[in-house]
């Protein structure tokens, strides 16, 4: 897969919050307006920088939730001991401003021209860049077959729930709920393991492209299992979010 062309120096620009919507009790999507936004590719992220009135600054990185061509949006999960995420998920209102730098990343990106079949493995908020990839697939009218294996603690924690309940043609979404399940749940109810991946993943011979994103332990576990099942490491792309609320 080719790397992205150099786009020149990244600079900070002011972004204004256009609208917010809560995906779950702890996860919020913010739609941002940045007049000089150059566009982005599915899977990329932005760095954001907040400045308090005493000059204190904090920087964080968030994956872009929207597809190329759609308005810029990020989806943020509230971390209990966080400094920035509680502000973004609870305090921020339309009209508020902060700085944004991006788009960033030339490795964890997908576009229809890269082909597939696609295996997307998401742990918690790791679903954000993968959802951007699925939205891009849909916007481009791509027929690359795709499967999203999405691990969440409970049904209430599933981000983009309604959207994922109605996937595009050729997309299959497989949930696993690791901590609690709704009544009459018939899906997976445990952490992703070798058995589950063997059932869900494309055959090795199909030479799938795989993207794994989420907490570091999730990404390491899934990538290791896939390599063990015979998937070549060179067609597995990983993005570790560190320790999150998971």
């Amino acid at each position: 897969m080719a790397g992205t062309a150099v786009r020149g120096r990244l600079t900070w620009q002011t972004a204004t919050v256009g609208s917010v919507s809560d995906e779950t009790p702890t996860v919020r999507t913010l739609r941002l307006e940045a007049p000089d936004w150059p566009g982005h590719r599915a899977g990329q992220h932005v760095d954001i920088r907040l400045t308090g009135d005493d000059g204190y600054q904090a920087e964080r990185a968030y994956s872009i939730a929207s597809a190329p061509g759609e308005p810029l949006a990020i989806t943020v999960e509230r971390l209990d001991d966080g400094e920035v995420s509680p502000y973004l998920t609870e305090d921020v209102q339309p009209g508020d401003q902060f700085e944004v730098r991006g788009p960033i990343g030339g490795y964890f990106i997908w576009e229809p021209g890269f082909g597939g079949p696609l295996l997307l493995a998401a742990g918690g908020s790791g679903v954000v860049p993968l959802r951007a990839m699925l939205r891009e697939r849909s916007r481009a009218g791509s027929s690359v077959p795709a499967r999203l294996l999405y691990s969440s603690r409970s049904w209430d924690d599933v981000i983009y729930r309604t959207e994922l309940d109605f996937p595009s043609d050729g997309v299959r979404v497989i949930h696993t709920l690791t901590r609690s399940q709704p009544p009459m749940w018939e899906g997976y109810a445990r952490r992703v393991d070798k058995q589950m991946l063997a059932e869900v993943a494309w055959p090795v011979a199909d030479m799938p492209l795989t993207y794994v994103c989420g907490p570091t332990s999730f990404v390491e576990s899934v990538a290791t299992i896939l390599v063990g099942l015979g998937y070549p490491a060179g067609r597995i792309r990983t993005e570790r979010f560190g320790a999150t609320g998971q």
Binding site: T4, A61, G105, Y107, T216, E220, G242
Partner: protein, 83 residues
Amino acid sequence: MDDNTLDGNAIGGLLAEVFGAEMTTAVSTCGSCGAVTLVAELAVYRPGLGTVVRCRSCDSVLMVFVSLHGTTCTDLMGLASLS
């Protein structure tokens, strides 16, 4: 595996600022063990004092970035090459 560990994706912005270019698809060669890895796949530690990038195979320090007083100090001495 320590859950706080990140990878090169997380510092894409920092690297672009330091090198003036997208670096997550750059190829690094470890000066200690010779392992060849995409920067996006290197192990990244951010304990708040600075950013430490290590080889996944042998854990040697490849790059260190420390920002003090508005300047970023960059140490690439652990790398044999970066292209």
